[in-house]
């Protein structure tokens, strides 16, 4: 059979690509977790109010820069390991399995905390809308409960908002943010556009490093893009480009919006008016100059945006537990998926029960849902994710130190090292300044509580990994290889997994 020399992709490649995701779908998937509207309407005013510093716009740009630097090495490494895992699998490849398990035990509470925190924001926003729109006064708790129920049901059915729904929602969100920004910039305080919030000198103020953790928590979710590497048209190019977009897009959007808010309210007043208006800030600033319909749409979109983020984080937590369950780090039950829908039930139910428990406790103790539920848990979760990113950046350095694997010096050496150094600085400053971020007194246990909890989790993970290494060496060998790499879970299939490309690569680093 004569075969003509083909130019371009062959039938198999084309057949596979037809069903796969391109750059835009992956970007939407990544940005959905970050939920730009949630960050812009919810987080930015909170940062202004809590830290009381006007460097917020600049901080977003810097955070985006640091993270895109981090992305360079992260994506380069993702080309060499194949799995559906997340940060912890990178860490176990780069720094060894013991640290990898420790990272997994940090990741679980961190992502869980971020998701549960969002329920607080959802409750407050929804109850606000109910009051203005329908005139019904409902406390935040029933609203959050409705969202909880929806997320719990959709989570067990494994319904991820489809790419198209997300794409439409996000496009509208971004559009409305741009309109608000334009309106706010067109109506500056006292008639002149103030460039002071963009002055780089502000980066030298001591609060900046602490603000960076808040900004970085607004990007969380961009790392989810690598989860789709199996589903992408071209795992090498698609994921790399999409991940960069997923960092830069929200970074620019948030930075510009934060600046627009400061311009519209006046640099001197922005902190005070953030404290007064919280999540209504943007609507207060832009409201007088736009039709009321646009404000109403903004409120509804904020709600859908928070909900999309809730679902995205729920899926992320569940997926984490599923991956760990399949690798037998968590009990076997967590690695079992519903045969028909493919939903990892145990993980989904665990997260839902946990969230309900936290919500009920907050309700019964009458704790403030915006400050103590949303802001605190997001900061706590953000700290955990920052620890993960920091460890991952070190893992990338470690991964490429032994062999450069045909990556150039920038991707394999310089960028990862720079990212590691910058993240180290941010993490250090965050741990020191955590009390200030949470607005607690110097003597309060919350100054060190979250850091200690993560330290305990990590120590537990290290201990657990060491026990596993002794007691179940076959399971231990599979850690971090993801569902794909770890070919045979438990000894259902008798023989040990064969060394193929992926595992050979891992074995090389064991």
């Amino acid at each position: 059979m004569a075969r003509t020399a083909l130019t371009g992709p062959d039938i198999v490649t084309r057949g596979l690509a037809g069903n796969r995701l391109g750059v835009p779908s992956v970007v939407f998937f990544g940005v959905a977790g970050a939920a730009p509207l949630t960050v812009i309407l919810g987080s930015i005013p909170t940062i202004y109010a809590v830290v009381g510093n006007t460097a917020v716009p600049l901080v977003y740009f810097v955070a985006a820069l640091i993270l895109s630097l981090f992305t360079v090495g992260f994506v380069a490494m993702s080309r060499h390991i194949v799995n559906s895992g997340a940060f912890y699998s990178y860490i176990s490849h780069g720094l060894g399995r013991v640290i990898g398990v420790a990272a997994a035990f940090i990741a679980l509470p961190a992502y869980a905390a971020m998701q549960i925190g969002l329920f607080g924001l959802f409750g407050v926003v929804a109850s606000g809308i109910m009051e203005t729109a329908a005139g019904v006064k409902v406390s935040w708790f029933p609203c959050a409960l409705v969202a909880w129920l929806l997320v719990a049901v959709l989570g067990t059915l494994w319904v991820d908002l489809s790419g198209k729904v997300l794409a439409v929602l996000l496009t509208v969100e971004i559009l409305i943010v741009l309109i608000y920004d334009a309106v706010m910039l067109a109506h500056p305080f006292h008639g002149h556009v103030d460039l002071a919030p963009l002055a780089p000198a502000q980066l030298l103020t001591p609060e900046v490093a602490a603000m960076l953790v808040l900004a970085i928590s607004g990007f969380v979710g961009f790392e989810a893009t690598v989860v789709l590497s199996e589903e992408a048209k071209d795992p090498k190019k698609t994921i790399g480009r999409a991940t960069h977009w997923a960092v830069l897009l929200p970074g620019l959007l948030c930075g510009v919006s934060a600046w627009a808010m400061a311009v519209s309210a006046g640099s001197a007043n922005i902190v005070q008016s953030s404290k007064d208006n919280t999540t209504d800030l943007v609507f207060q600033l832009a409201g007088p100059y736009v039709p009321t319909a646009l404000v109403d749409i903004g409120y509804v979109l904020l709600l859908t945006s928070v909900f999309a983020a809730l679902l995205a984080f729920h899926t992320a937590v569940t997926r984490y537990q599923f991956a760990l369950g399949r690798e037998r780090v968590l009990p076997r039950l967590w690695g079992v998926a519903h045969p028909r829908t493919g939903a990892p039930l145990a993980g989904s139910i665990t997260q839902s029960v946990l969230a309900l428990g936290v919500l009920v406790v907050y309700y019964l103790t009458k704790t403030d849902p915006l400050v103590h539920l949303f802001a605190w848990l997001t900061v706590a979760g953000g700290l955990g994710v920052l620890i993960l990113m920091w460890a991952t950046s070190l893992a990338v350095v470690g991964f490429f130190v032994r062999r450069r694997r045909k990556e150039n010096v920038w991707r394999a050496r310089i960028a990862p090292l720079l990212a590691f150094l910058l993240l180290t600085a941010v993490l250090g400053a965050t741990i020191i300044g955590l009390g200030e971020l949470l607005q607690v007194d110097a003597g309060s246990p919350f100054n060190w509580l979250f850091t200690t909890v993560y330290a305990v989790c990590a120590t537990f993970g290290v201990g657990y990994a060491l026990i596993m290494r002794g007691a179940r060496p076959d399971v231990y060998a599979g850690i971090g290889r993801g569902t794909e790499g770890f070919v045979v879970p438990e000894s259902v299939f008798g023989r040990p997994a064969h060394l193929h490309k992926v595992t050979a690569d891992v074995a090389h680093h064991a």
Binding site: M1, R3, D10, I11, V12, T13, G15, L16, N19, S84, W158, D160, S162, V227, L228, E230, E231, T315, R319, F322, A323, R326, A337, P339, R340, T341, G342, A343, P344, G482, T483, E484, G485, F486, V487, V488, P489, S491, V492, F493, G494, R495, A497, H498, L499, H500, K501
Partner: protein, 212 residues
Amino acid sequence: MLANSYYLIAHDDRTGRSRLHPRATGIGLAAGLLGELMLFGRLRAMTGELFIVSQEPPGDSLSHTLLDLLIAQPQHKEIRTWLAYLSQDAADQVGERLLRAGVVEPVTRRKLLSAQTTYMPVTPDQRNAAAWESIRLAEALGRRRSMNLTDRVLTALIVATGLTRYVFFSPQQQRDCMQNMPGIMNSLPDDLVQLVQYTEAAVGSALAAGRR
């Protein structure tokens, strides 16, 4: 035929619906088709890659087509790639082969906007034959009768893709099956062991990604 048996077990005999997530069923059927070529002595697997050991056309037309495709696309070797590629239309391909063999009938259902053709056993004889596939396995395992190579591979694929409870109904049967699995896997040639392992991994990944 491995893929035929898998198809009949993986689809509900009354509704014709896939018992697993359609992607998982597709991967299982793809593995069945590759497994057939291995059983025919045309294909081998080494370290996760497929190698053609004989280009002689097999008697079955679908297997023949697949072998031709494998020969024509030597740049793709990985089992993962082939499982993913073949899984896309394996259900239709195997369904049509069953139709040619007279084991199933095409049933077209009209939904709101589209019509969907599924292949399912319709006549009593066809339904008996379809049900026999799973009963045969459960019987053989329960009575510790020795199984031929095809049935052993079939059992392994069933466990690997998560169909266990549709073949082994009672918890006792399922426990028996799990106890017998290591023995069955040990008895398989290395090529088929790899195929089963990659199938299980591919199903896990497909489910974890959670896309329709």
